[in-house]
């Protein structure tokens, strides 16, 4: 089954390139730690998901590139083509001349409707190329105008048009100390809209990845390229094929097929008072964890620690909340590697901080005129705040 990737805005396009590059490099990595036949199955699975066939054998990424100004897309297309190993489709890019000006309202209310048709046509073409479409992977940032506003608009449209396909949004959380002054507004508007139309929000914080580059990788002068490569590495290790069931040697067909739905217990959630007294927030409670193991000795790994009930909220049994995927095939020349995708309280604090800052700014009405100019009114802001406060509260009460 295939995934169609949607790269939106400068961030989305820059990251998207690194992701495809990482996937391709891993797929053709010489050290595999597995049999040749195994490797071929892996490669075929990876290919089916992310690349389509081209006459002269150069794989084409299953991607649609969208930006409201041309420089980044041009560069991205060029870089891919120059690599000679894979590339983007010739007609898979859509761009305009004038950006969104870091304005969520402009991206959502002006660019969205104006360019709805050509963008959705591009997506449809790409989707039709797939034998079987698993879903969409949308890469965007929250802080800017195109990724955030247009991203929210497009996701909503995909919800309507492709309701049976999964939509996963990869969201980049901006640095706490400004990249964009109105980033908090853009973030809350994005998140509140995506909450209604996306199936899963996969979050990466620039601050966190930056720390990885600085502390774990000891890079002296960290550039966005470094950050994007770390991100791509993480995403690659999540998306590359794994076995579909314990012991089986077929690669799972549906890459996004985690059971994303979290079902609260039939008896209803426990009342507030009790749980919040017992659990302090220093212990991160999860609703779901997915562990992905690749490489040597995957089958003998001891996973007991992940099944500790203390890790999970009281109304979930660890067996329901914990999943593990494995493959013997090593990822990107790492003899052993592990990735953890977690739906937990980890993001409550950052989210709370963003909502708080946006709220303070909103109270003074700063910058609001820039949004009302394009049809996003104060009520829309209030709706967003309400929704996100609910999210924060729900997670806090796990």
């Amino acid at each position: 089954m295939s995934i169609v990737t949607l790269q939106l805005g400068q961030c989305g396009n820059q990251i998207g390139f690194e992701v495809f590059d990482a996937l391709f490099s891993d797929s053709h990595c010489p050290q595999r730690l597995c049999s040749k036949r195994e490797n071929e199955a892996y490669q075929a699975s990876c290919k089916e998901r992310f690349f389509s066939e081209e006459e002269n054998g150069v794989p084409i990424a299953r991607a649609v590139l969208v930006d409201m100004e041309p420089k980044v897309i041009n560069q991205t297309l060029l870089k891919a083509a120059q690599s000679g190993r894979w590339k983007y489709g010739q007609h898979s890019g859509f761009c305009q001349k004038q950006g969104s000006g870091n304005n969520w309202a402009y991206g959502y209310s002006v660019h969205g409707p104006r360019h709805e048709e050509p963008i959705l046509n591009l997506i449809q073409k790409e989707a039709e190329k797939c034998d079987s479409l698993s879903g969409f992977f949308i890469i965007m940032s929250m802080a800017g105008g195109t990724g955030s506003g247009l991203g929210a608009f497009v996701t909503q449209n995909l919800q309507d048009q492709y309701s049976s396909s999964l939509k996963m949004n990869q969201i980049i959380w901006p640095y706490g100390t400004g990249e964009v002054i109105v980033q908090n507004y853009n973030s809350i508007l994005t998140l509140s809209h995506l909450y209604r139309s996306s199936d899963a929000l996969l979050v990466h914080e620039n601050d966190a990845v930056h720390k990885i580059c600085a502390k774990l990788m000891n890079i002296k002068h960290i550039s966005f390229s470094d950050i994007n490569q770390v991100l791509a590495h993480q995403l690659g290790s999540v998306f590359q094929p794994t076995y579909s069931a314990e012991g089986s040697f077929h690669y799972r067909r549906n890459p996004l097929g985690i059971d994303w739905q979290v079902r609260p217990p039939l008896s209803g959630l426990p009342t507030l008072g009790k749980t919040s007294l017992n659990k302090e927030l220093h212990f991160n409670t999860s609703i779901a964890n997915l562990l992905i193991l690749r490489g040597k000795d995957v089958h003998s790994a001891d996973l007991g620690g992940f099944k500790d009930p203390a890790l999970y909220t009281s109304w979930l049994a660890p067996d329901n909340a914990f999943n593990v995927w494995k493959t013997q095939r090593a990822f990107s020349k790492y003899e052993k590697s592990a990735a953890l995708v977690s739906n937990s309280q980890f993001l409550v604090k950052p989210l709370d901080v963003i909502v708080g800052k946006a709220w303070n700014m909103f109270a003074s009405k700063a910058y609001i005129h820039q949004y009302t100019k394009f049809g996003i009114e104060e009520e829309d802001f209030l709706d967003s705040f309400t929704l996100l406060e609910q999210v924060v509260a729900s997670y806090r009460n796990l």
């Binding site: 400068q10 820059q14 002269n56 100004e69 041309p70 420089k71 980044v72 897309i73 041009n74 560069q75 297309l77 060029l78 083509a81 010739q90 007609h91 890019g93 859509f94 305009q96 001349k97 004038q98 950006g99 000006g101 870091n102 304005n103 048709e117 050509p118 105008g145 640095y175 100390t177 400004g178 990249e179 964009v180 002054i181 109105v182 930056h210 890079i219 002068h221 960290i222 550039s223 966005f224 507030l272 909502v355 708080g356 800052k357 709220w359 303070n360 700014m361 109270a363 003074s364 009405k365 700063a366 910058y367 005129h369 820039q370 705040f385 309400t386 406060e389 609910q390 509260a393 009460n397």
Partner: protein, 597 residues
């Protein structure tokens, strides 16, 4: 690779305006190819490519000749085109032979065969309008710098996206309009500029100087009598007289653009033309092009200004700036002069191992006026020209964190009336023709906040920030930026609701001859003293009704114009006062919405 798509491949191809079968060419060239054309055609390069063209028969593969300037002329009028794909354009009519590049590229391009025509030229434009003596002198410096910057960056002489933002590529062999050539080798560059002055002196000098070919004579509006340092003459008399002409020139200039993003207006506040006619222009632009940003660079009169009525002119102009400009960058001569003095000191001290650069770029503009006698204002004007170049660099050139011009207003203007931005350019030596070994990168950031580096008399460090933008050029990474923000933050005061009010951009292309540079734009209450002082100077004159009759004798001018203007300024000052009052208050988080779970 070059590819073609025949027939109505995309949405509504027939809009691409010629009577033959319209075909789109999408794609980009990734290697150097020579296209030898049997017939003369209009050709163009696509972004990111390096294509050279030959014009004639295969035997004469003249690489480097401009591709067919005969043939189909001009572009269809592009206003109202909804560009719906990102094609870069065009090519060829007739047989095409391809040489060079890899076999793969050649076969791809060759399968591209004959009778392919097409279209599309997406461009983003910035248009510069210089009004009055000061405005035009600065404007001239700007164009000189812009040309030199593009010449240094664009070594192959291909008319690319970056150049197209400020210049049109025109074939001057064709009579009449000199229709624009899409892309390809640069034939002749015309600045996207409109020059307005009510005296002929400065504009004439420009037209006789080395930059004469850069300006389209049809983009000038001049008169002979001048405005007599009288805002009312500039605004009302000349405004009325030239309104139609101005509109016409502007429309013409906009017609050549698919997407006009911003008007840059340069003028001074203290005189008559720049001040009066310049601000009249703002209203016209707002009505005619409401979607296009109006960014105004205004030179405010210094304390020892020699024009007696400059306070009147400035206050009357301020009202217009308050109401009709999107963003104003105030500058004053004293600050520019101080900066020049500092640079001279650095150079003459000889301590830092400075050497005079052989190839000048900056303070001594080789192009603008008579070479040997440097007029005192030349060096100062170059600083302002650099400001504009750096402001637009991230929109023109690539980088890892781009910043368009509309992002300036979005991020730096929290309330519509507070749109005055204090600017600083560092390191100073990027403003001089000197080779100073680069000091620590961090020094550049520190200097940006010092009151000695601001382009008006202002001290941002000791006042309140509403927002701040850092636009970096050159070999600087995000970690350098972040480190410096973290380092400097504690010494700066930001308004309570915008504690992390930073907007950042990284452009990969440095200013010519240097490794990096920084432009800082601050929306800060430190502009207030300039306005307060202006008001005081105004009141000193106005109380005595000195020189008032010169203004009142102009039709439409009454005393109420003055009182309204001064109260507009007072209201603005009051806004800044209110913000300053919050400076020492503790920052508290407001109570949040409470939700029933």
């Amino acid at each position: 690779m070059l590819t073609k798509q025949r027939g109505p491949g995309g949405p509504a191809p027939s809009r691409y305006g010629n009577e033959e079968t319209p075909v789109h060419v999408h794609g980009f060239l990734t290697e150097k190819l020579s296209l030898n054309l049997d017939k003369s055609v209009t050709t163009s390069a696509t972004c990111g490519s390096s294509v050279t063209y030959g014009t004639s028969a295969p035997s004469e593969s003249a690489v480097g000749e401009p591709g067919g300037c005969e043939g189909r002329r001009g572009l269809p009028r592009s206003l109202g085109w909804p560009p719906c794909s990102m094609t870069q354009s065009v090519v060829v009519q007739g047989k095409l032979r391809v040489e060079g590049g890899t076999p793969l590229a050649r076969s791809q391009a060759a399968s591209f065969a004959t009778n392919v025509r097409s279209v599309s030229f997406l461009s983003l434009f910035l248009s510069l309008i210089a009004v009055g003596q000061c405005g035009n002198q600065i404007g001239c410096c700007f164009w000189d710098l812009a040309l030199r910057e593009h010449a240094a960056v664009n070594q192959k002489g291909i008319y690319d996206e970056a150049i197209s933002s400020f210049f049109r590529n025109v074939d001057t062999r064709v009579v009449g309009d000199g229709g624009s050539i899409s892309k390809g080798k640069i034939c002749s560059l015309k600045a996207r500029a409109v020059l307005i002055d009510m005296e002929e002196g400065v504009v004439n000098e420009i037209l006789q100087g080395p930059l004469r070919d850069v300006f389209d004579t049809k983009q000038l509006i001049t008169d002979i009598s001048g405005s007599g340092n009288n805002w009312a003459v500039g605004h009302r008399v000349f405004g009325n007289l030239y309104q139609e002409q101005i509109l016409e020139k502007l429309r013409k200039s906009a017609e050549h653009c698919d997407c006009l993003q911003c008007f840059f207006i340069i003028h001074s506040m203290g005189g008559g033309t720049g001040s009066g006619l310049g601000t009249f222009l703002l209203k016209v632009l707002e009505d005619e092009f409401p979607e296009v940003y109006r960014l105004v660079t205004s030179v405010y009169p210094s304390g020892e200004d020699d024009v007696i009525t400059s306070p009147y002119n400035s206050i009357l102009a301020m009202k217009e700036l308050n109401e009709h400009a999107d963003c104003v960058l105030p500058i004053d001569n004293q600050s520019l002069f101080d900066i020049i003095s500092k640079i001279d000191l650095m150079v003459n001290s000889g301590k830092l191992g400075t050497t005079i650069k052989p190839k000048s770029l900056v303070t001594s503009s080789a192009g603008a006026s008579k070479k040997r006698q440097e007029k005192p204002f030349d060096a100062m004007n170059n600083i302002v020209a650099n400001l504009l170049l750096n402001l637009t660099s991230s929109a023109r050139f690539e980088g890892s964190l781009n910043m368009d011009l509309n992002e300036i207003s979005m991020n730096l203007v929290p309330f519509p009336q507070l749109h005055y931005l204090v600017s600083s350019l560092t390191p100073l030596y990027t403003l001089a023709d000197v080779n100073i070994p680069p000091r620590r990168l961090d020094q550049m950031f520190s200097d940006a906040f010092s009151k000695h580096h601001q382009l008006i008399q202002a001290d941002p460090k000791h006042n309140l920030y509403l927002a701040c933008a850092l636009m970096v050029r050159g070999n600087v990474q995000i970690s350098d930026l972040r480190r410096n923000i973290e380092r400097l933050k504690p010494s700066l005061q930001f308004v309570s609701w915008n504690q992390e009010g930073w907007k950042t951009s990284l452009c990969s292309v440095p200013p010519v001859g240097h490794s990096y540079s920084l432009l800082a734009l601050a929306n800060n209450t430190c502009v207030k003293p300039t306005f307060v002082e202006l008001r005081e100077r105004f009141m000193r004159l106005y109380k005595k009704k000195a020189h008032l009759h010169h203004y009142l004798q102009i039709e439409g001018m009454e005393e109420s114009c003055f009182t309204e203007a001064v109260s507009s300024l007072s209201a603005l000052i009051q806004e800044y006062n209110q913000l300053d009052a919050t400076k020492s208050m503790p920052v508290e988080d407001l109570p949040r919405l409470s939700i029933a779970v």
